[in-house]
């Protein structure tokens, strides 16, 4: 008797007991899920309430009158520091930071991972170990020298400076992920390609890149969410002119003087969260793969 048939014999238990346990598990999971949703729920309902209703203090109640006024104000008029142009500026900055960061970090890491995985580079092993160490270095220890470098390159306080720093910081982890993906490509394919053309770049563009769809989506999503959600790099290297949306939001909700408009704060926070949330809910499976790969060295 094999183990699987043993399991089939052993597992049919009285049906009633199983149902009870299943319901208990589902109820418990449902309650935890409700707790997880509390902050999001509170943000959504508060952002649609007028301030009059907020002052009554019922944090969980639905808006009596649903109004988009707070959203409009957060986008066009809310003050962040000395300027009162809403979150628009930060949104466009984030977008302008995102695109070059994605292109630079993904192409750099993909090519590096490809070269290390499939070409005979003698020092590949020690370089990979070095990258593994770099992936865990705290940002603070390299922060000041990188500030000096970006100032010298006249990139400090610009979109390009922020994008450059994102590229540098992401390079070790992304390279390790790409390398781990490429090293499993069968050697025969590479050998055939080498016989055919033998060119490093042609093999990358014509053979490897078309095979990378899966890993590219995972990394794209990992990078979009982490760059969009970044605060530290943006606040350090963005200066005044290139602040991403998160920095804009933080200024808006912490430094606002006078009466605090909670509905505007919530609307502003949700506006900042919408792009990564949409990506997460649409492409969640890839997101999970990405964080798992990014966390455990790929």
């Amino acid at each position: 008797m094999t183990a699987s048939t043993t399991a089939e014999v052993m597992f049919p238990r009285p049906k009633k007991r199983i149902r009870g346990r299943q319901i208990a598990i589902l109820v418990f999971l449902g309650m935890v899920a409700l707790f997880f949703c509390v902050p999001l729920y509170v943000m959504v309902v508060t952002s649609f309430k007028p301030m009059d209703q907020i002052r009554e203090g019922a944090i969980f109640s639905l808006p009596r009158i649903w109004t988009l006024e707070a959203w409009r104000f957060a986008w066009f008029e809310a003050c962040s520091g000395l300027t009162c142009n809403g979150l628009r500026g930060g949104f466009w900055n984030s977008l302008r930071i995102l695109v070059p960061s994605l292109v630079a970090s993904i192409s750099l890491s993909a090519v590096t991972g490809y070269a290390l995985a499939l070409w005979n580079v003698r020092w590949a092993g020690s370089f990979l170990f070095l990258l593994f160490l770099c992936a865990f270095v705290p940002f603070q220890i390299i922060m000041y020298p990188i500030i000096i470098i970006t100032v010298k390159l006249q990139l400090f306080g610009s979109i390009w400076g922020v994008a450059l720093v994102h590229t540098v910081l992401a390079m070790p982890v992304l390279t390790l992920i790409f390398r781990n993906y490429y090293k499993d490509i069968p050697a025969d394919i590479i050998k055939a390609a080498m016989m055919d053309s033998g060119s490093f770049w042609r093999i990358f563009l014509e053979v490897i890149l078309p095979m990378s769809g899966n890993i590219l989506i995972v990394i794209l999503i990992l990078q979009i969410t982490s760059i969009w959600n970044d605060f530290l790099v943006g606040v350090t290297f963005g200066g005044v002119g290139a602040q991403p949306m998160t920095v804009n939001l933080a200024n808006m909700v912490t430094v606002s003087t006078g009466t605090v408009s909670y509905n505007v704060n919530m609307a502003a926070a949700l506006l900042t969260a919408i792009p990564p949330l949409v990506i997460y809910f649409v492409l969640g499976k890839f997101f999970v793969q990405g964080i798992a790969a990014g966390a455990i060295k790929g």
Partner: protein
Amino acid sequence: MRWSRISPQIALAPAVTVTAVGFIGSILWTIYVSFTRSRRVPEYGIDFTNPLRQYRRLFDDTGWNIALSNLIILAIGSAVAIVIGFLLAALLERERRGEDFFRTVFLYPLAVSLIVTGVAWRWIFNPSLGLQSFLEGLGITGVNINWLADGRTAMYAIILASVWQSSGFYMALMLAGLKGINTEIWSAARIDGASLWRVYLEIIIPMMRFTFLTCAILLSLGVIKAYDIIVAMTNGGPGQSTWLPAYFTITAMSAKGNLGFASAAAVMMLLITLVVFLPLVLLTVLQQRVAARGGVA
């Protein structure tokens, strides 16, 4: 054939430059500066009569000592996230119905910036309009959850937000670990008549020790890097009560005239990271050995 040797080296040049300048060079520079008297701008002369001055200043600093003890408090408190993560993963693994739905809910905090969710948490902790007033409206008085206003309780609020944010992540790692366990073990345990609890405590959890260790190390690394959550929830306050090393170092760096001092703090952060990181390297080696022996990792 010559090009096949040179092209890869050329392609690797940017990555090597980034590693050499951005990481290794920058780390060495910061370590060096931490031994100098640098104040507003870097100074490159080391005063050999007292090269450790910045480190002495650092350990005499109240803020740094608060930051260190908060680091330990946050690490212990956040460990709850690993327990919750395992619990959720075990339940989801037993009851597969709705797995996708629950996983989506438990993981969404990770997709959003802590700067965003911090706004929500501060609002929930708001004493006159938040959860407190909701409870009072229900007639529950005498519960004080105005945690953010009091230096003695502010860390609890940060721990709560951090557990909420990261539990889903550990759940995902645990779920992957649980799915790797051979189902035959379940039937074998059933034949022995072992209860569910005992199977988990005595078989499953020991088998997943590597997953747990990985989670613990990732959690420690995350705690060392924790910065956004402080900015979003307390900005270090009240007073200095919620300072953490990452926050301390950035604050010292942006304050003028503190470059050497801030560098010393950054070097200490690197050392703490190394202490946590070393077991990870050992773990990887161990895991490979166990895998080579044919055991279950």
